[in-house]
């Protein structure tokens, strides 16, 4: 009963917003090119989702046909860039962050450079990324890696630095070697921070993928939104935006499920 009521109250505001949106469109208060009605967006979204050609068994398998629509191809393209970019960025940030958090020497060596580079938005690398990597996926993935790199790095450093010293004292008392201290105490103690960093990094990757697709590639949700703008297809722009929102929500939900499963020992997740 409680969860039913919570679900009902969670859907209330979106419904009201949708009804308001439909109202101002139906009443003709706004130009349909500037803001198309929700119904028109939905129709366009469906058309965008459907395969372009009729199903022909001689041409391709059924599954391949189902996913042959423009929307799914775009979403898969964007997702591919996000994942590859994220894993490269996070994969580089994690070992560096662990080393910086653990060793004052490494921290002192790298931190000044990191602090200068960190405030530069990934978008500012666009011109260089094209010069260095040309067009296509490589510059996009480069930008996404930068976007994912810093959140993972900063959170990993903080996570390692904030390991409660009492755990290290217990470790020394039990006779743990430095390696054991690192793998069995510091690393698990830092995982809640590392997961938070990964989630933020994934969010950044989603922002950057859209921008990067507006410059260097010719598919993906970001590219499609920009293309739709050229033709003033505002319904398609909005359909693309909602797709990005849903995709991001899906990934974030997956990551949060994964982290509450892996961190079920953690106090902060008791209620989650």
């Amino acid at each position: 009963m409680k969860s039913y009521r919570r679900a009902a109250s969670g859907i209330l505001v979106p419904l009201v917003a949708l009804a308001f949106w439909q109202l101002i469109s139906s009443m003709g208060w706004v130009n349909a090119t500037i803001l198309p009605s929700p119904m028109r967006v939905l129709v366009k979204w469906w058309a965008y989702l459907r395969p372009l050609e009729a199903y022909d068994p001689a041409q391709m398998s059924h599954l391949k046909w189902v996913v042959s629509g423009e929307l799914i191809q775009d979403a898969m393209g964007s997702l591919y860039r996000v994942l590859v970019g994220f894993f490269i960025g996070a994969g580089l940030a994690l070992p560096l962050g662990l080393a910086m958090g653990y060793s004052k020497l490494v921290y002192g060596l790298f931190n000044p450079l990191i602090q200068v580079l960190r405030p530069i938005p990934p978008i500012a690398y666009i011109p260089l990324s094209i010069l260095w990597f040309g067009l296509g996926n490589p510059p996009a993935i480069f930008l996404i890696s930068i976007g994912a790199f810093f959140p993972v790095l900063m959170n990993t450093v903080t996570g390692v630095q904030n390991v409660d010293s009492i755990y290290l004292r217990v470790g020394r008392n039990l006779g743990a070697s430095r390696l054991t201290q690192f793998t069995r105490i510091i690393l698990p103690a830092a995982t809640p921070y590392i997961f938070t960093g990964a989630r933020i990094g994934m969010g950044t990757a989603f922002i950057v993928v859209i921008v990067s697709e507006m410059i260097a590639v010719n598919n993906g949700l970001g590219y499609r939104i920009l293309e739709a703008r050229e033709y003033l297809w505002s319904d398609k722009i909005i359909a693309g935006m909602f797709t990005i929102g849903l995709l991001g929500l899906g990934i974030d939900t997956l990551m949060s499920r994964l982290s509450s499963h892996l961190l079920k020992w953690h106090r902060g997740l008791e209620q989650a």
């Binding site: 009492i166 004292r169 217990v170 008392n173 039990l174 006779g175 070697s177 105490i185 020992w265 953690h266």
Partner: protein
């Protein structure tokens, strides 16, 4: 000398605090025999935890020596298992994993680890909780696990730093009895820090009262009341009154210090 197990000789410890030297420990001499239960008693800032940490090897004395069986202490080690005040269990490990961790470090064979864990879970009434994480345990249960983790090491010496300080009175008495039972059964040497007079009188063979800065030994008192001790008996209360007086003198010096510091602020 022959039956001395832990030997603290002429130990000084000086800290730097706010540009000033703080004498946490001054000329401490203490001999603890094999199998003895010794409580260090004193107000906050008397150096009792500093002394315990020095014996544990976490912070070595500025001068003087501490030896265990004649060997000088240079590092923390599993021969001197320590039970901390609170939250010292690894939250990412289950009860069972917390207890086995020390044995894994030692490189004990798997079947021996299993046997030891089962024995300890039984001994500390933790068998039903082996797969639980610390966050799902009460404070008393957590300290049982912490004790089991240290007992797993089979160290001859247990160092305990106000282990029951955060527990409610009933849980505390329960764990004190439990500790006495384990001590009688396993014949460990225990060095136990507390600021509770009653706890010291209830548990210890000897109670060492320490002074507020500089930390020195004010009184080394043998408690020869028979066990189990009756906290309501006249003898117990007479000792309690004596120790209370000693402690209040130190407490008032602590208070004066704090008032002075507050006035400077």
């Amino acid at each position: 000398m022959s039956d001395s197990h832990i030997s603290v000789q002429g130990v000084h410890k000086v800290f730097q605090s706010g540009g000033q030297d703080v004498h946490a420990l001054k000329a401490i001499n203490l001999e603890v025999k094999q199998g003895e239960f010794v409580c260090l008693l004193g107000p906050s800032g008397c150096g009792k935890s500093t002394l315990l940490n020095a014996v544990a090897g976490f912070s070595l004395p500025s001068s003087g020596t501490i030896t265990v069986d004649g060997l000088s202490i240079t590092d923390p080690g599993p021969d001197r298992g320590m039970v901390f005040q609170e939250y010292a269990l690894f939250p990412w490990m289950t009860v069972e994993q917390n207890i086995t961790f020390g044995l894994q470090i030692k490189g004990t064979a798997k079947p021996a680890i299993q046997a030891k864990v089962n024995e300890l879970l039984e001994l500390l009434h933790l068998a039903d909780f082996r797969k639980r994480f610390p966050k799902d345990l009460s404070g008393g249960m957590r300290q049982r696990v912490a004790i089991a983790r240290v007992l797993a090491l089979d160290s001859p010496i247990l160092l305990m730093d106000e282990p029951f300080g955060a527990l409610d009175a009933l849980t505390r008495r329960n764990l004190q009895d439990e500790l006495l039972r384990l001590w009688t059964e396993l014949r460990k040497t225990i060095l136990f820090v507390t600021h509770s007079i009653e706890e010291a009188l209830y548990l210890a063979d000897r109670t060492v009262v320490m002074t507020y800065r500089p930390g020195t030994i004010k009184r080394d008192l043998v408690i020869d009341l028979p066990r189990p001790r009756d906290v309501a008996s006249p003898a117990f209360n007479a000792l309690k009154k004596d120790l209370g007086q000693l402690l209040m003198e130190e407490q008032s010096r602590l208070n004066q210090d704090e008032f002075r510091a507050a006035a400077v602020d």
